[in-house]
Structures are given as structure tokens and as C-alpha cells.
Symmetry: C2
Subunit: 484 residues, 2 copies
Amino acid sequence: MNTEQSLSESGIDEGPPSMPVVLEQLARIVGAQHVLAGQDVSARFDGWPPITALQAACIVRPRTTEEVSALLAYCDSVGIAVVPQGGRTGLSGGARAREVDVALSLERMSSIQALDRDNATMTVEAGVPLALVQQAAEAEGLLYAVDLGARGSATIGGTIATNAGGNRVLRYGMTREQVLGLEVVLAGGEVISSMNSMLKNNAGYDLKQLFIGSEGTLGVITRAVVRLRPRPATTATALIGARTFTDVLHVRERIAADTDGALSSFEVMWPELIDAAVATGRHRDPLSERHAYYVLVEVAARDADQRLERALAAAWQEGWVADAVVAASEAQAGALWAIREDSPARSAALRPALSFDISLPPSAMESYVEALRQQLLRQWTHARTIVFGHIADGNLHVSIGIGQGDEAARSAVGRVVYELLRPLRGSVAAEHGVGLFKREYMDVTRTMAEIDLMRSIKTHLDPRNTLNPGKVLDVAPASRDLAI
Amino acid sequence: MNTEQSLSESGIDEGPPSMPVVLEQLARIVGAQHVLAGQDVSARFDGWPPITALQAACIVRPRTTEEVSALLAYCDSVGIAVVPQGGRTGLSGGARAREVDVALSLERMSSIQALDRDNATMTVEAGVPLALVQQAAEAEGLLYAVDLGARGSATIGGTIATNAGGNRVLRYGMTREQVLGLEVVLAGGEVISSMNSMLKNNAGYDLKQLFIGSEGTLGVITRAVVRLRPRPATTATALIGARTFTDVLHVRERIAADTDGALSSFEVMWPELIDAAVATGRHRDPLSERHAYYVLVEVAARDADQRLERALAAAWQEGWVADAVVAASEAQAGALWAIREDSPARSAALRPALSFDISLPPSAMESYVEALRQQLLRQWTHARTIVFGHIADGNLHVSIGIGQGDEAARSAVGRVVYELLRPLRGSVAAEHGVGLFKREYMDVTRTMAEIDLMRSIKTHLDPRNTLNPGKVLDVAPASRDLAI
């Protein structure tokens, strides 16, 4: 928007300026010490797992929304692409930059500006790590509902830009449902301040929805107002062993009904995950026999123990539970979660792990996983697969080892994972976003009309393709394409 | 989108065709018996309360998405505006049409296409009444979470187009949070089929969010996939009397904490609402004394009675409850709700009632209501005010009587209601939408940058201002303005 004006004002129309000129201009905006180049760039990784060194012409670290606005207006006017970065814990390549891009790190915009206990809202800058948001809420007896393994590094802005899911979606919804207000800077530098703090606000289009989950391609999120919840008094955790996937679905239904809104996690693990964890020597199998399926259940409520035990007893009587252990202490609950969260154990077992994040109807999961295993084994005779996920949300995480970890391997395995989803109209990106790696499979999940409309909105809001180009969508090159 | 093409194909560029020609073309698309004109139009009302007869050149009633697409493509190409209509129960004039507009009723697209019990989703056409969606879910032991007084007439499509709230937002969120997939027809006739049925799907921009709550100005909703929930086993209802608004806030906090996710309604009523209900002779005051505030509380869970009684006992001991009655039967619970839902009682007391739907932080409500009463009395010495609302959601409904009910009166009273919200950054449209009546007050709630961006999106998706023109936004007249 208004790019023509900026362009003509800049007086530059014969191609982008040289990088020293760009660095000097950026230094004027944010201060020279906040424009990093050379080794300060390459010492960082560009995503998770941390194997690829960050490439970028520089990292620019603004302190204020005004600085973000000024640097975007400048970059947009001279045709330099900008890649917004939070904690760089994404798995989809959404924060990956090219050598000619400016990486925009929100790390200095990291203050919690307000916590309104009475109205249960928090106002935060985008660069605050998720864990600090959680802790600030906890200090006031409240809960910020999103939780995920990368909580220490992932930023609130990054989780909003990717609409992160995590362990408690079942009860509280994804990040989208926690965001009340948002401040966003558009490609041309316009600041859209939509810092609503009310639960209900139908005054016009709900613009923030457009930016949540758009992975930095439509605007840079600078601030947010998030919703806080009452903090459940106690938590009860159990690990269940089940004989069949149908039994798992029955257990889910029974526990959801009997715990009445207090079920916060229902994590299913195929037995290979337990095997991989036990093989490290860091964990012991909490159940005495091996089971076809394991379910990690968490109930959070004032009387969580009673509710979970009542529900488990009912599921046991109905014959859907083969074995179960209820954590008798926080330490025991932590040990159960540690099995689920030990992603190095999976990497070690699969050497390396190629990881995928998909959605499909729970009723189709069992046959999908079976078909996936068979097809992988046909192509790679030593293929190994570890499956786990938030099945009540329809979300599976699939980790696959074929003895290779390069982009070609990921691409070849990805083809199998995603193509099998096509007849199920599953999603190739459940809670991790599309980034760079899943772009070519968007049509598994979305119709061409949908993708065309996304592209049309992208081009309308960012006509020169300045913001995170090539992520989510393959947009036609801008007039000054910088692709290398 | 693509309007130039449609326009040139139509071969018409010297102004809109005559209405007989338009009716004939529409009849070719949907069948002559489904193009209503004359008395068949004026016999309908255009909103709630049912006082204004519908104006429109005709009502067209398509049966399929393809027919919606064809008729929009035609109207867009010849410059005829289209006003989508559901159950016409909205309070904001969103379904009001002009004499030159085509009213597009979704009433024949009224089938429930699928109910997937295992995955807890329902696929519906837009014209299905909300009550039928609720009943279909109930028949399978599930719950469609949105509920509101107009359930018998309001359509699922209308509730999605306005992001309806209602009585259970506290627990389940607004309509937005119930919608998984959406099929929408754009102004030019393009069908965007986004019939996702998964809880988690981050594959690209979440386009449906753009159309939910856009009040028919960006696209016509033709079908949806909605989320269903486990149905709570039992419901417990109580009416509480409280001495101060601070006590009400304390009661809210105590009950929310002690019922652990099972609190489904927390409706506060100022005493004038009880007075108005009792004055009709249809209700008796359930409490023996008059109180400063009344709260209707509903808990839905397996052990709802126990939970509510435990929470009430705690709030009583803490001194925040002056009196309370717990419904001993469904009939008694129904009688308590009937007081809250008796809007004719309020109309009778206020002769007529001018109704407003606003949001503000709960902590600011008491002083807002006091200031509002004083300012109204300064302007109208006989002004009477009845306040009630979903206060845990930050949402108040304000009904005001000044002895006049025309548009001038509504506008003058509205100015007082909305201007007092400005310093609080409250919302002029909490759960009812902007429609026609609140358009001029959007800037109380939204920044100019937000409104400009809304306008930019509207113009991008509907360049000829074909869809519900003048609603939500005052968009610059299209090339062929039909304003009368």
C-alpha cells in the first residue's frame, strides 16, 4: 500500500542500493550496534533442528514499533526483502533468509507492558519468550493457555505469526483463540494498531485474524493483547496402555465426558516412541508390558485427581484400558511428560528424524499410519517410523528415519506423508505452519480457489513481495526480484 | 475480482438494465417461482424488532451454491447490489435493503448435509435455522455451542456472517470458534470452497476468518462445517442477589474457579430488568427482597448441582452473596431464564426500547452505567434504562426508553451510549454486528488505520460494491452508485 509514493519519494528507481548503503540506512533507523552482520549472523541457526546457519545480509534489531515501521518503509521502497524472526524454533523454514535479505529480529522488543488482573489480559511486545508470558500470568494466579516444548526460546510474536498449537489446544484452543488485540506493521510501514482487549468485539472486520498464522508474509507483529484464564488448582496425570486404536477413541470419549471440561491433554504415542525413549537409558517404561498404544492424559481442575480416577475407573470397567499408572507426585508426572517431550531420543533412534505435522480425522488415523508405514517400507526397506500426537485435535506428529537427513530425503519422504493425506483432505500443516518446506503441498489441503485468494490478498497487502517472500505462497516475483 | 471481464462479456456498459430485465435474468437462474416481488417482499420485515417492512426490488431464493454464484456474477456485471439475508433477526440493520437492491435469501439452502459423530462435526447449508442445528447435534448426544434468543428464526449462515455470541460464550467462545470450514461466494461469483473439518489447520491463511463477522459485505456464506462438543450431562441454575458490583465480580471469580471450566452462563441483570418482568404479571420475583444486582448462573457438567452448590456456599461465606435461589427442577430453571429472555417485558416498560449492545472491561462497567444514566437524564428527564449482559465476556446490553422510537431518537440516544465508550476504548458492537446503525461510531472502537484497511480489503474483494453496500463500512460509491 502506498508503495508508489514511497518509491517516488525515495528518488531511487534504478535497482536496489548496494548493501553498504542499506546497512548505513538501517543503522540510522535502529542504531549501528543493532545492525548485525558477518559472524554475528552466521553464528545463529535459522530454524529447528539447529543445523542450518542463518544466512542474511544483516540482522536488524529494532526497539520500537516506530523503528519497525521506518525500516520496513525503507526496505520496501528500495526493494529489499525482510524476513521477520522470533525465537527461530519453527520446523518449516519460515524464518529462513537468503543472503540478500534483511532479517528482522524482534528480540529487543521484549517487555511485558501491562498485566490487567481484573480483566485477565496481558499486553506484550512481540519478542517476549513464551515462558516469560506464562510465568508473568502465573505470578498473578492466572494462566496463559498455550504451551509447547520450545517455550524457553519461542516468542509470543512467533507463536502468533504461526498460530502455534501445543499441549493444551484440546481445552483452550490454539494461539488464535488467545489473541484479543494485535499491532502489526504492513510492508510499506503503515502501523495497524488493533490493540483490542475485549473478549467480544464485532465492530467491523476482525483484522487481526488475517495476520495470525500468516507467518510474517502479510505484516510484522509488534505487540499483542492476550487473554488469560483462571489457573486450575491442581493437575492429575496418567499414562494409559491400550490394545487397539478404537479403544483409544473410546477412552478419549469417556474421559472427556467424565472430566467435564477439565481434560487439558490427551497425547497418544505409538509404542516405538516409548522404545526410543527407554533405549536412551534416560527413562524407564512406566507400564510393565508393551502396549499397542499409550495415552498421556492430563486433567486440570480443583479436584483433578478424583475426576481422573473416576473417569479411568469407568474406562477400565468398560474394557478399553489395558493398563494405567496415575502419577502420585509432580515428579512422577514430570517423568511421564519427559518421555513425550524427549525429541533427542527420537532423533537418536531415527538418525536423523525427518519430522512432519499433519491433521486428519481421528477416525482415519489408524489406517493412515498403517498405509504410511507400508509405503515407506516399499521405498526404503529400513525406514522406521515414530508416531505420536494430539489425537483429540486430529493432529499427528510423524517422525521418520531413512538414514538420510538432507533436503532431498525430506522432500522424498514428505511426498509419501502428504500424498496419502490427499484423499482424506487432511492438512499438511496442523500447528507448525507452511513456511518453505510445505508450500508445494498446499493443494493437498486447500483448493486452487483458496490458494488464488490467498495470493490475491498477499499481493494486495504487500505488492512488492517485501515481507518474508516465498514463504507460505509462491507469489509471482515482484518487479525487483532478488531471488538467488 | 474479474469484474472487468464479466462486464465486457455482458456487453452492457450504459447503466443497469431495467428491473423487468433483471427479474427475467434472475428467474432464468433460480426459476420464476423463486423470484418474489411486490407483496411477497413487503410482507416480510427487514430486521428486529419487526417494525420495518422489507424493501427490495425482489427476493431471490437460490437452492444451490451454483445458483448463488450465477446470480452474483450477473448482478455484479450489471451493477445491481445484493443484500444477503438469513433469518433477519439482527438488530443493526444489516439485512435492510433499498428499493433497487436484490435481496438474496438463503431460506431454500436449508439441509443438514452430514453429521459426523466420531469426529464431532456437522456440515450444513447456510439457511438452516440455528435451533435445527442444535437439535440435530442433540439427537447424537452432542452439543452445538452457540445459543441465543432468536434460535428459531436465526440461520446458521446469519450467525456466522455476524459472528453471533449469545448465552454460552463464556465457556465455548463466539460463533467464530465453532466454525471449522466455510464455503463462500465472492461478489463476482467465484466460489471459495474451504470446507475444512479439522480442528487444526495452519496450511496457509485462514481465509474463513475474513468472512466470519463481515456481515455479508465480502462474500455470501453458502455452507459451513461446524464443530460439535460433548454434551454436558446435567445443568444447574441459580439466581443470585448481590449488594455491589464489586461483589458481583468477586462472585464471578469464585464460581469460575470452583466450577472448573463448567460455568456456561453468568448473566448479570440490574434490578430494573426484574421490575419490568414482574410488572407484566408473567413472572414473580424469585428472591424475597430487591437487590442492587442479580446474577443468573448456569453450570453444565456431570455433577453440576454439587459444583454450583459448593461454589455458592464459598461465595456466601466470603460475604459476596446477599441472597440466592437454586432451581430445583428444569421448570424452575426455565422460569429464571424466562425473566432474562422476556424482551417484550422490556419493550413494554420502556415504550419503546432502544437497544444497544456494547463491550467494555468489566472493571469499568459500574461507573459507565452510572455516567450513562446521568447523562441520559440530563438530556431526557424521563429517560429509563434497563441494563443486563454477559458481564464475564465484557458485554452489556442496554435498553433505553425516552418515549420515542424513531431513527432520530435511536441516533440521539446512540450518541450518548457510544461516546461514553470512547475513553474506555469499548466496542460499539459486541455480538450483534455493525450493520447500518453503528457504522458512524466505528471510530469509537477502531483506529482510522484499521478502518482504512477494512475499506481496502472490501474494495479489493468487491470492487463494484455489489455485496451489502453501505453496511459495516461507508465505502466510496462504486462507478454505478444506486443510492436513493
